[in-house]
């Protein structure tokens, strides 16, 4: 049995032909297409838009731990897996050769990855076996466009996807957030990409300086829809959302809310999301006696409905790439109170117009800005209108044509010639 399996219709996974329109096939390589993170959601939005515009698109999942995709995906997008980790996927090898392969797989699985620096946040998902399977896959690609979506996959593609495929590296996190070893590998390898795509203006500048001569483009992620029910900002509900872990700063938001309870006792803070810090956050709520006012709502499949009921959105993150749920909230006409953390909030928000930017990791300042919105419904309404306008530039119709333009340009004959030369060892 081969590990590289496909679902959906279409040709082989390494399908070498451009389609009838002359457009190259686009492959997205994700660490886990079956997961629930922001990168996965964003890539699926991109894939849906491209396939609707007539492109041939495949999602390649490096790993597979689940049976089902967690976000809506157009059935015309093919999905394939490099290493299937589901229990059901592994049948013991038959015969001497089969048993030998199993033993070898077991040995390699226990060895650490060689090409991925330990500082990569996804390091724990890699080992020698996964690495070797990915390298084999990447080396097999001959044409089309390959989009890799996190540093570990970018590093492997930079070194091994050298068979003629056009390569685009996506960065979904801001540069300053990466550990030193990851930053070093970025400097060493990213110049080999045909384009490096980042989410914010600040990152475009930073990567531009790090990688002179490499094409660095800023294309923000798109919200899934702009056709949203607007809030009337009249409720007394503030909403925050994200995985319950330190990056999201809910441990700063809860004490900030404690400063507001006496002045605004009829307001409620609803935090959506699940995660490993739930018990700690619950303890913090109890410590501040906020159990009537701050609610850990858990995961919801209907965040749109919940946003439409809120009066404002609050982002308490320590860092971000580009906070998409914040932009989704704005598409519901919600003003935002956000820490001015790296990166994203200051790219999106204009302080005093569609939201309030707050000095990062400062709960007092966060409380002060929230109080400003809680005490002024007219201000919420004005900022809500401005927020919808801001969100419009992150709609699928505004963003996805930029991917199409980039891919078309990279796949043009002149570009392909340059890439072919580079693959043969010439310098363009």
């Amino acid at each position: 049995m081969t590990d590289h399996q496909q679902t959906g219709q279409g040709a082989d996974a390494t399908g070498h032909r451009a389609d009838a329109t002359g457009r190259p096939k686009v492959r997205y390589l994700l660490l886990h297409a079956y997961g629930r993170g922001g990168t996965i959601r964003t890539v699926m939005n991109q894939a849906n838009s491209l396939v609707q515009a007539g492109w041939q698109v495949e999602l390649v999942s490096a790993l597979r731990r689940r049976d089902d995709l967690q976000f809506p995906l157009d059935p015309r997008v093919r999905v394939s897996t490099v290493v299937d980790l589901r229990e059901s996927a592994h049948s013991p090898g038959r015969g001497v050769a089969g048993r030998w392969r199993d033993r070898r797989r077991g040995r390699l699985t226990e060895r650490p990855a060689r090409h991925i620096p330990p500082g990569e946040f996804g390091y724990r998902y890699f080992n020698r076996y996964v690495e070797q399977r990915l390298i084999a896959y990447l080396s097999s690609l001959r044409d089309g466009i390959l989009v890799t979506t996190r540093p570990a996959l970018n590093f492997l593609a930079a070194e091994h996807a050298t068979g003629g495929v056009v390569r685009v590296a996506q960065e979904h996190m801001n540069h300053g957030t990466h550990k030193r070893d990851v930053q070093r590998r970025i400097r060493e390898t990213y110049a080999r990409f045909d384009a490096v795509a980042v989410l914010t203006e600040r990152d475009r500048e930073e990567y531009g300086q790090l990688l002179p001569g490499t094409r660095v483009v800023r294309i923000p992620n798109a919200v899934h829809s702009l056709d949203q029910v607007p809030s009337d900002q009249r409720s007394r509900i503030a909403v925050a959302a994200g995985r319950l872990f330190p990056q999201k700063g809910f441990d700063l938001l809860i004490p900030a809310w404690a400063r507001l309870v006496d002045a605004y006792p009829d307001w409620q803070l609803r935090i959506y999301g699940s995660g490993e810090k739930k018990a700690e956050l619950r303890a913090l709520i109890e410590e501040h006696h906020l159990y009537n006012h701050v609610l850990l709502m858990g995961h919801t499949d209907r965040l749109d409905d919940e946003l439409a009921k809120a009066a404002f959105y609050v982002l308490s993150s320590r860092f971000e790439g580009l906070p998409m749920v914040m932009i989704e909230a704005m598409s519901h006409s919600l003003p935002v109170v956000a820490f001015d953390c790296p990166t994203g909030p200051s790219d999106v928000l204009t302080h005093g117009v569609d939201g309030l930017l707050v000095p990062p990791e400062d709960p007092d300042a966060l409380a002060e800005s929230m109080a400003k919105l809680m005490g002024d419904r007219a201000l919420r309404a004005d900022m809500g209108v401005a927020a919808v306008l801001t969100a419009a530039s992150y709609g699928p119709d505004a963003v996805h044509p930029r991917w199409e333009a980039l891919f078309s340009e990279l796949a043009s004959p002149e570009q392909r010639h340059r890439i072919a030369d580079a693959a043969k060892g010439h310098h363009a």
Partner: protein
């Protein structure tokens, strides 16, 4: 849901004691809420009944102003001579005639049992925690023994 539907839904909900705040502190549970669907005149008391046993109800005065009520449950009274490992006490508000179940029926939050969670207090070896039932009614759970 628009405002009109909202009003209709409120009218359909049967009379009960709608809980606004629950304060488990200092060996007591203080409750604040509104009487829904029934005139609020008269003397009201908070009533605690042990589930499955109606022999020894406890009751405490409630202060009512307009339709707003407020009252306290002293947890020491829940210590019984024959405690089971887990005992549950249901909370009502009564004026002697009507018995209104305490609960939170009028908001938009589904699954309060896991979302509106309150801290536990210890009273003479008993661990007491207010909680919303799957039907969004408010009850007290008492556990003997060590921390779970």
């Amino acid at each position: 849901m628009n405002r009109h539907e909202h009003v209709n839904r409120h009218e359909r909900v049967k009379p009960h004691a709608e809980i606004a705040e629950v304060w488990p502190r200092d060996g007591r549970v203080r409750l604040v809420g509104r009487i829904h669907g029934r005139p609020a005149e008269g003397d009201w008391r908070l009533l605690l009944t042990r589930r499955g046993r109606t022999d020894r109800p406890l009751d405490y005065p409630a202060q009512v102003k307009g339709d707003r009520f407020e009252g306290e449950l002293p947890l020491a009274d829940l210590v019984t001579p024959d405690p089971a490992e887990i005992e549950e006490w249901d909370i009502h508000l009564t004026d002697g005639e009507a018995r209104l179940r305490a609960g939170r029926q009028l908001d938009d939050i589904h699954g309060k049992k896991k979302i509106m969670v309150f801290p536990e207090q210890r009273v003479r070896g008993l661990r007491v925690r207010p909680y919303y039932t799957v039907k969004d009614n408010l009850s007290l759970e008492c556990r003997t023994g060590a921390t779970s």
